[in-house]
Structure formats: structure tokens, C-alpha cells
Subunit: 274 residues, 2 copies
Amino acid sequence: MVFTLPSRQNGFPARAIVATGTLTVTTEDVTVAPVMAAHINQRPPSFLAHLDDSERARLLEFAVIQELPRNQVVFCAGDPPDYVYIVQSGRVRIYHLSPGGRVVSLWFCVAEDIFGLTELYHGGHRQVCAQACERSRVLRIARADFCQFLEQTPRAALAALDVVSMRLRGLGRVIEGLVESDVTERLTQLIQRLCLEYGRPVGDRICIDLRLTHQDIADMIGATRQTVTSTLGELRRRGVLTLRERRWHVAQEVAGTLTQPAADSKPANQAQIS
Amino acid sequence: MVFTLPSRQNGFPARAIVATGTLTVTTEDVTVAPVMAAHINQRPPSFLAHLDDSERARLLEFAVIQELPRNQVVFCAGDPPDYVYIVQSGRVRIYHLSPGGRVVSLWFCVAEDIFGLTELYHGGHRQVCAQACERSRVLRIARADFCQFLEQTPRAALAALDVVSMRLRGLGRVIEGLVESDVTERLTQLIQRLCLEYGRPVGDRICIDLRLTHQDIADMIGATRQTVTSTLGELRRRGVLTLRERRWHVAQEVAGTLTQPAADSKPANQAQIS
DNA sequence: GCAAGTCTGTCGGTCGGGCGACAATAACTG
DNA sequence: CAGTTATTGTCGCCCGACCGACAGACTTGC
């Protein structure tokens, strides 16, 4: 059973293995200069990582393992939110399907990430769609069970709050980028974000074990496939990006130019007291 | 002490009283045809509304009342997240200040809304700014106290989760709009959203007790002030909006066109099984 | 291993909307 | 009430990016 989306005739091709050790790099991955190395894998602790062993064991009693073939849709906007999911392996894309048929990727879930909990309470129907980017395995937990677990496990509820907060902050940044920046800048910021969250140091560079098509990237930064292609090409031509042995390298000075995660917001704009 | 932002020389002028009874309409408010009336004030229950009396009382023991003059900045991106706030009266804007000095409004907090909790745990510094749109009163709770309260009060933690989830969904929709729609559409959707969240039935129409400048609106939908002005004017000219006695009226068929809150996502895009 | 399908790369045409500028009106403030 | 400041309304220029189209490279499945 393979799903096909209206906006493109094939399924989603990205199928990297992320955040776990194994990785199969077949075509492209993104690499960054050493200046970034210190910040690599600053990926926030996942939901499961917040729990201790006994809590985790208790939660997993409710769980059912579900195998997802590539491109399998887990749920779709409008579905009743009957389950919560935790990724064991693989990668799941959370996205909107706009009325125009456009895919708008919001974020990816990798190992240990939880998804589907946003609509738990007053959510009504699902607001977003979830689809496996690659062959994946997820744990499925019934909504009622999960709610009960959260009520009995304060730390878990706070963990969930933390995860959702993190995503909220992420989307805020995306909005800021969409409003403020042009495609080149959004693309640069995306590369940096991917480095920080999914980067893995390889020699003096950082490798991202994602295999995203230009269309995937376009869906993430709100651009068209063509623009992404040409912008990527232009960055390469300008020396900002270089493509060697099918791997992307980012020039050091550019990585420096990119805004750092925490301390960037303050300096540029100072409110004046009158 | 009045704050002025670099991007505009004056402060923020919006100063409506919202969601509580009192209202001072001086210039403009938005009104919608009766078709919407059934959905008015579908504003999700606020954080405080989730709590019972004893829980609320216990929380308020930690609280300190803080009066905010108009345009007072509560916190700014980069600040340490030492407090959580609950609005008692007035209105607080949560926004990003982009490197270019642009204001990007994410959402507003009105009576009983909580804000500043997104950075409670792994947030590091504040990611967003908060500023009183008008004279407001907020309750300030120290971070440690609030954390402790959440740990001891599972329902409160879930309430917080619910509130943050709601906002997450909201931002997802905003992103979808930014990617998919042009300014006219985004503006229409904004008006509808405002009707649903802040609308108050007046006669056969619905009144929004917000006083937003075109600039405010532009900051919310990612457009320029000029474009908002002309788009608003064009909608009026096309009969979609009419400005009578300084109040906006939305034609009924247009209100019908607008996507309804819950059941809109399904019909347009159906994934095909291959 | 060949054929079908997918992805990358490139090129004009077109246009929405940003930007600067300026006038007119409305809203505050002393 | 008068002067100042904020807000609305309008215009023209111009650029970034969308859109359609197509060729070549790569991947995948039979």
C-alpha cells in the first residue's frame, strides 16, 4: 500500500537513517565547516529521553508496534486523533496539505520522537498529516491510555509540554523567516538548522544523514522546486556551498554568518526607551 | 517609561479591550455576516479555565500582580525566562523581532491567557518578545514556583500542554497561509480567525473588539502596510467588505467561502492509494 | 539490463507585492 | 484648540520568485 499525493506523482523519496548510528549515504548530504562542530547534535532531548526506565516501561505496556512501509500515511488531516505515536526507527514527516494541494512540511520526527499529541484534548480532528519518509517502525498508543499515563506521571506531562514548546519555538522561527527573508536566506538557515539537529561530524566537516530532494526542501522553506535548485546552484557557484564527491560543504565564513541558536535575537534590535 | 521599537517611531497603538465585557470602539472593528454567528467565541478555554477553584487558588498564592502601561515590554528575546505570566486584563502581543527590525506578531494573549511558559525547561533564553498592547494587568509567577505547581498538579500540566498545542496548531496554519496564499487570502483568513476568537455578536453581525492598525495586521500576515491598506480597500470596493459607520461588514457569501475551523482539511486533498 | 519514472538543472515570461514617496485625514497632548 | 504625531490612502518603479517547459542525469522496478 503506497500513497501518492496529488501535488507530485511519485511518493516521497527521502529515506535516510537519522540520529541513530547507521547511515546510508547514497547521493547528497550536507556538510558544514568546523566552526559549527561545537554545536552539533544539539537536538533537544526527545520525549522518551525525559523518562526514567520504570516510567518508560510503564508507558510501553500500552504500546503496539506498527511497521510503516515507505510513504505510508499514518494519519491525515480530518482523521479522529485516536492514537499517539513514538518513532522507533525511520523518519516521519509532519505536514500540512494546503487546499491548493501543496505540501507544507512542518517538521520531521526521528527515533524517540513523539507525534500526534497536539490534538489530544481540544484538538477535534487531526490538523496535520503524518507520513513515513522511509521504512519506519513506530509505537502506537491509544489516546485514552496516553492521557491516563500523563495524568499519573507528572514528569511525562512536562516532557510532552517541553517537546511541544520546542516545536512551537521552531515554527515561530520558520514564520519569521518566511516573513523576513528571501529564499536564499531561508535556504541557508535551513541548512544550518539541519546541521544542528541532524548533523554528524565526519572528519573536519559535518554530515547530514538526510536525503532530501529539492522538492522536499522547497516544501520546508516555502519555495518552488526550481528556485531551490537554482539557489542551491548559485550558492555553490558563489563558493558558499561546494559539491565534492556528492557531498555538500559549507564555507566557514558563511557558517559564521548564520545566526547562532540562542544568542542571536538580542544584539540587532534594541528597543529604545523614550 | 515607554518603549519605542526601531522599526516604527511610535509605540503600538492597538488598545482594545477584549474578551471581557467592556469595550471602547473608537475607530474600526470587524463585523461578519450571521452565517458565522454560530461559531463565535470558539476561543479555546484558557489556561485558568482548565483549573478548578482550589487549584487556581493554590497557583495564585505564588503570583504577584504587575501593572503594565501601554507598550510596556514584559520580556524580550534573549532575556532569561525567570517568570510565567497570566493576563488579568488588557492584551499582550507575543512577537518576534527579526534581525531586519521587522515585527512578526505570532499571537495575542487576552484575559486568563498564560504566556512565557514556552521556554520553561530547555528553552535557554527567551525566543520571543512580549509587549502590552494597551494598559494591562498580569500575574507574574516565578519559574521555579510554576514548575513545582505543574509537577504537583497533573491537570495543570495537561492544561499547559493543551494551550501550547493550540498555539502550535495556530502557527502551523499561519505557515500554510504564508506558503500557499496571497495577501488577499491571508487577510481574509485573518479576519475570519479574529471573528472566531475575538468576535462578539452585535445585532445580526459580529464585532471584533480589537483596534488594529494596518501595520499591526501587516505584521500578522507577513505583508507591508501599504499592501494591507490597498487590499483592505479593494475588498471594500468589491463589496466583500463594507465600511459603514466605521465598522467593517463582511458579505455573507464570502464568510461562507472561508474555511470552517475544524472540517476544512479533508475534502480538498485526498491522497490516492496506488 | 532496459524502460519507466524521478530528480536536477536551466531559461524566459509574467506578476504579485515590496519599497519609497507624499498627501490627506484622524487622533492625541499640552 | 492648535500643533504634533499617528494612521490611512494612493501611485509608480522594480525585483524576486512563481510558472511552464524541456533536456539530461540518475534511480528504480520489472
